[in-house]
Symmetry: C3
Subunit: 158 residues, 3 copies
């Protein structure tokens, strides 16, 4: 039987939604689905090498946006963020309950061979370069390429 396929458009830069994306991705990979994650817009923040705020990008506006968005350490909770305290509290609750944290899920996703691709258009707009992103990002592609590679599987937008 052919392997099931799952492609996730990781649009959100919220901590809880990134958690959902990686939980679905690694869950699918664990039952042998072929999984692809397409990071675009705010979702790119999850993969920035600089995990804190940094002046990435070309052009003043891009630099400001990237600085304000920050990296993996700055992902807000989509509600009850409490000025950024909640993701740390949430991570504490996850550790206490032996649930994999976001960092652990990202590592697991890589080890399970999940494909990370980045959105060409979003990177252009935000002035982010492939080199600014996690080395596991294999390709920077357009949306048509991504859709074509995903056409025989499930596509989820988060």
């Amino acid at each position: 039987m052919e392997r099931k396929k799952l492609s996730i458009v990781c649009f959100s830069g919220d901590f809880d939604k990134a958690l959902a994306a990686f939980t679905l991705a690694t869950g699918a990979a664990a039952v042998n689905w072929e999984v692809k994650m397409f990071f675009t817009f705010w979702g790119l923040n999850v993969l920035k090498k600089k995990t804190g705020r940094a002046w990435i990008g070309s052009g003043v506006l891009a630099k400001v946006f990237n600085f304000l968005m920050g990296g993996k350490r700055n992902l807000p909770l989509s509600r009850l963020n409490f000025g950024g305290a909640s993701p740390a509290l949430m991570t504490g609750m996850m550790k206490k309950n032996n649930v994999a944290t976001l960092d652990e899920l990202i590592v697991a996703a890589k080890e399970l061979g999940i494909d990370f691709v980045a959105c060409e258009m979003a990177m252009h707009i935000l002035g982010i370069k492939k080199d600014d992103l996690d080395d596991h990002v294999q390709n920077v592609v357009g949306v048509a390429t991504f859709l074509d590679a995903s056409k025989d599987g499930h596509i989820i937008f988060i």
Copy 2:
């Protein structure tokens, strides 16, 4: 012909998105699709038996999060919430226009035989027990189990 299948990941705890999830679910069931709703994270608030704020959960943090999130009566509108007044106003507009309200949609979903399942991991993190949720919740499952049961249908993330 085989019945079409729809699985909805009900991640959001926003009033308007819960409305969208139940509208899609009951609409699909009405045309004889087999529908499954997987409640996770904020989405669990929609199904809590305590429809207002309550100190659910084990551990101080879980209790605080659950209290602040509240239940079905506390779902905020994702925009223009006006301190919680909007969902009631919106419900009034729905009644006036003979559109099913969220409460009515939930009842309809149950009557149409839509499967409610709850996310094991989210319940662990938030310290919510099966007993805290609507009795229509048949199973508490992991994401891999949910995906496997959904593999031959549509999967939507809300």
Copy 3:
């Protein structure tokens, strides 16, 4: 080979998510997929003929909601909106990088023959009439009709 199909539920009225919806839609149409966009709730704001704030709708509440939501010119960025300044800044960044703007994507979607349909229920609730929306909107349909027309393709919720 049969054409692939993509149906997008355009629920969000956020500038960045509208951008994502139209980018996916036009990207899919560009590689010859059959694409349908179903506009509901906040998503209807993207298609209002009045692109600014206007007292659309029947009933005081509907008028107030429609006024506050506004039209295409009032779509907020889902984060870092800065009181509405960000969508214009973002559009500037897109032009600078030769990326199609939201307006250009909407025109392209129409030229590529993408089907625009509007959600009957949301229009009832918000008191919006077909005449208030872009003339490219071919039909106002219920969710069951939409799902039935989308059953053999991908369905994405944005």
